[in-house]
């Protein structure tokens, strides 16, 4: 907890105060309050101060002419792994104590590329190798900052990654020959971890209340999980199959946890009524499927079915490629399920904001929210839409008209010339299973060489 407080202090003290900017005369897609034609948006000190027609520009404001352009809230990705040096601490089925916030990489050029797709906030997540993975970090795409702390979104609640199904099973059951090797095992991992944390919390309570003289051992893993049980950390759970989704909701109910966002949740559509009843939210792919067996029975209509059943739904990327066109991914719900413009836009703005617990600060164009804005030529749900400008806290972080070719922040002085990569980075990184390959390999190829395991998606 000390650490979190420290971070908050640090953020307030080191970050430049937000910018003043007036965005003139655009078609404003507020997402939550309808579409406003020929409207201005005023951002003062990095926050949205006024939304109205014909706002007068004051002296110390920059002006952006958005005539003929669409102005929408900065896009939010509820599941990504950009800006991270490490994704998986894949060595144990439970690693609640690790925090990808310790591996933030503000120098990742993927942040800029995401900005070029209108994305201003992403949820930098631990991977899915473990049933209880590490804590995640909600970051703002303040590209250009060198200090990792300046990426952290001040006021965003703590989140943690859980994972069900094939990934933890492959990593630990098949890889290390330990539980879980089945979905039965995955359930017991949770029940055991939660119960242990409760015992741990009681030991400390007893100590603090004088019922026990000696201090218990400090255990960051139990400490973190007991914070989950207290409701201080939001669970984001990698999941695919309907049965495992129901399983986790049963376990959470038994332990009195009410907040959960299911990630990927390809079979969420099968249990949409149960998700809605539990109050769970869902963050899905627009159309990914069939890359492994547990996503074979998927449908691109997932987001539409979930939305129609009253589940707060978002569309995420899980990829440094896809994060660049989430507006297009959201648009696919208009082909697959006829969502309205506002419903489709909500999937990448206010809904992921709710899932990350930052809906009071981001996710729509409303007075008082952060000045995170994406400006498009063409309606953002059109396949021909082109992001023109992206603002974070009112600061222009991407401008297609002032876009230098080479946006690397950290230049390796010993590199002769940039390398050409045959595979794109997202493919190679294996998304959710990044860093796990090492683990899986120790089995078969220990003798000589260790290499990247698979080129397939393993999300």
């Amino acid at each position: 907890m000390n650490r979190i407080i420290f971070i908050l202090i640090l953020c307030t003290s080191t970050l430049a105060i937000g910018q003043n900017v007036l965005i003139k005369n655009g078609t404003v897609l507020t997402v939550t309050k309808g579409t406003l034609a020929e409207t201005d948006v005023l951002i003062t000190n990095g926050k949205i101060a006024q939304i109205a027609k014909n706002i007068k520009k004051e002296a110390n404001y920059n002006e952006i002419d958005a005539t003929g352009l669409y102005v929408m809230p900065g896009i939010i990705d509820a599941h990504s792994h950009i800006a991270l040096d490490v994704v998986n601490e894949a060595t144990s089925p439970v690693t609640a104590e690790v925090n990808v916030g310790d591996a933030l990489n503000p120098l990742d050029v993927s942040i800029y590329r995401a900005l070029a797709g209108g994305v201003t906030i992403s949820h930098a997540m631990h991977g899915s190798a473990n049933a209880i993975g590490g804590q995640c970090e909600t970051i703002k795409h303040r590209f250009g900052e060198i200090n990792p702390d300046n990426l952290r979104m001040q006021g965003a609640p703590r989140t943690i990654k859980f994972a069900l199904g094939e990934n933890p099973i492959r990593t630990h059951g098949e890889g290390s020959k330990i539980v879980p090797n089945t979905r039965m095992g995955v359930e017991q991992i949770f029940r055991n971890a939660f119960s242990e944390a409760k015992i741990y919390a009681k030991e400390w309570d007893d100590y603090k209340n004088g019922l026990r003289k000696s201090s218990p051992e400090y255990n960051l893993r139990h400490e973190t999980i007991s914070d989950i049980l207290k409701g201080n950390i939001l669970i984001h759970c990698h999941s695919y199959r309907a049965d495992e989704i129901l399983m986790l909701m049963r376990v959470l109910k038994d332990f009195g946890v009410s907040k959960v966002c299911f990630q990927h949740v390809n079979e969420g559509f099968k249990v949409a009524p149960e998700l809605a009843a539990f109050g769970a939210s869902a963050s899905v792919f627009s159309d990914w499927w069939a890359y492994k067996f547990e996503v074979y029975y998927s449908t691109a209509y997932n987001a539409a079915i979930l939305t129609r059943n009253g589940v707060v739904t978002s569309i995420n990327s899980d990829s440094d490629e896809l994060i660049r066109h989430l507006y297009h991914e959201a648009a696919k719900t208009q082909r697959y399920g006829d969502l309205s413009d506002d419903e489709a836009l909500a999937l990448i703005t206010i809904n992921p904001a709710k899932q990350l617990g930052i809906e009071k600060m981001a996710g729509s164009i409303e007075v008082g929210k952060d000045g995170d804005i994406a400006i498009f030529k063409g309606h953002p749900l059109s396949v021909y839409a082109i992001p023109q400008m992206t603002l974070v806290d009112g600061a222009i972080k991407f401008d297609i008209n002032k876009d230098p070719d080479d946006m690397r922040l950290d230049i390796n002085p010993s590199e002769k010339f940039s390398s050409f990569y045959e595979t794109d980075k997202s493919q190679e990184n294996n998304g959710c299973l990044q860093d796990v390959s090492e683990m899986l390999m120790q089995e078969s190829y220990a003798k000589y060489l260790r290499f990247r395991y698979s080129k397939n998606h393993s999300h």
Binding site: T299, E321, K332, V383, M407, S419, F420, E422
Partner: protein
């Protein structure tokens, strides 16, 4: 009471009927079909309002069609748009069912020189992804093997049929991977020199293969000229014969700038007909590709830049830049299960500099020309195969609905496992 009973029984029968109907499998209908009064985007002959008669699997008539025949199903296309079916020029559709389950994958055989491995043999006509793909307007794909220098022979197939014979478009093409001087991934820490050396070695191997292929072709020709029966078993070399003899182009996967340049001179040196695939850095050498008159199949368009210092839109703009330089460009998804995203890939290419008309060509007539099937595919012209879409608008737009898909004149049900799951679960009972 009596009447009530009857009514009750009546409604029961009705219910039974409905459920029977629901369980019935939708099948494709044969036609003939008359598409009345739609906006016809012919691709090659302009866009105009008119009718199309689909009969015997082909575009039988086009324009203002007058007919009294009673067996024709008339489909009113007023306010609708009619396009030729879209062609994905590079995919693994039908060859890969579930990527992570290796036994369901049939695109990579053992061996480095195996051009005789025929994709057409392994394409599963009942792959679950095929209906998923065609309901988005993709009617034809080039399914190709990969994984080695000469991984096999790809096949252009229509996405309807129950056997290879029913699906094939008659165009099978040998593919080759050009030796790469790029890095295979972030883990690839070979020195620049080593990379170059490896590529040179690989090219040397290819040249050796090529020398044998030439020799083989000479013997083959001699055997033909002397009317000799040549008893032989060399399927690899047989597969290369049409290329060595200049009948067919070789489809070469090549991506980085340096490799493209090298491949251009290799093709010229060997006086080959060639098509380049991938061509990720085509934009860096577009003029050279145009000058060499080598057509290009590029994609996926939605891709990250391949170098850290590239602009964010390097992959988006690649197709447009090559097309502007005068290269004949077709687009591929290079995917299996999501080959359905071909129209969106084309849409992005269009938005980022290619323009809608050129992007449309890149997924229709250009592809047909590259595969030497432009007499049958790629545009709406009389006599061509009836691969036709009826839409509510631009097929690249996500909002547009694809309302009818005809493949070889068959009216394909717009149903896939994904739509069936939607129907079942939108309002789940219980």
């Amino acid at each position: 009471m009596k009447t009530l009973n009857i009514f009750w029984i009546f409604s029961l029968i009705f219910l039974v009927n409905v459920s029977l109907l629901a369980q019935q499998v939708q099948k494709a209908e044969k036609g003939p079909f008359l598409l009345k009064n739609g906006t016809i985007h012919t691709i090659t002959k302009g866009t105009y309002l008119g009718d199309i008669l689909l009969k015997d699997g082909i575009i039988y008539e086009i324009g203002a069609v007058k007919t009294d025949a009673t067996n024709i199903t008339v489909i009113d296309c007023t306010g609708k748009h009619i396009y030729p079916g879209l062609i994905d020029s590079g995919s693994k559709l039908g060859l890969a069912e579930i990527e992570a389950v290796s036994v369901t994958n049939d695109f990579s055989e053992h061996g480095d020189f195996i051009p005789h491995m025929k994709a057409l043999t392994a394409i599963n006509p009942n792959a679950v992804a095929i209906p998923v793909t065609r309901v988005n307007g993709v009617t034809t794909v080039f399914a190709k093997p990969e994984g080695s220098t000469f991984p096999g022979t790809g096949a252009l197939v229509d996405l309807f049929g129950y056997s290879p014979e029913q699906m094939t478009c008659g165009s099978e093409r040998v593919v080759m991977k050009f030796p790469s001087t790029g890095r295979r991934g972030r883990w690839d820490r070979r020195s620049d020199d080593d990379i170059k050396k490896d590529a040179e070695k690989a090219l040397k191997n290819i040249n050796e293969v090529w020398a044998s292929a030439l020799a083989y072709a000479k013997i083959d020709s001699a055997a033909g000229a002397q009317k000799q029966t040549w008893v032989k078993n060399n399927p690899q070399m047989d597969a290369l014969l049409p290329i060595v003899k200049g009948i067919q182009p070789l489809f070469i996967e090549v991506n980085s700038k340096a490799d493209i340049e090298e491949a251009i001179s290799w093709v010229a040196q060997n006086k080959l007909k060639a098509v380049f695939m991938g061509v990720a850095e085509g934009w860096r050498v577009a003029d050279k590709i145009a000058k060499a008159k080598i057509p290009v199949i590029t994609g996926p368009i939605m891709n990250t830049p391949r170098r850290d210092n590239d602009r964010f839109d390097a992959a988006y703009t690649n197709a447009g830049k090559m097309s502007k330089a005068g290269v004949k460009v077709a687009i591929r998804t290079d995917n299996a299960e999501n080959t359905r995203n071909l129209p969106f890939n084309a849409g992005f290419a269009a938005a980022y500099g290619m323009g809608i008309d050129e992007a449309l060509k890149a997924v229709t007539i250009n592809a047909a020309e590259i595969f030497d099937v432009a007499d049958k595919y790629g545009s709406i012209e009389k006599g061509k195969i009836a691969n036709i879409l009826v839409t509510t608008g631009d097929p690249f737009e996500t909002k547009t609905k694809i309302e009818k898909v005809f493949i070889r004149g068959w009216n394909i049900p717009l149903e896939s496992r994904q739509t069936l799951l939607y129907d079942e679960f939108l309002e789940r009972n219980p």
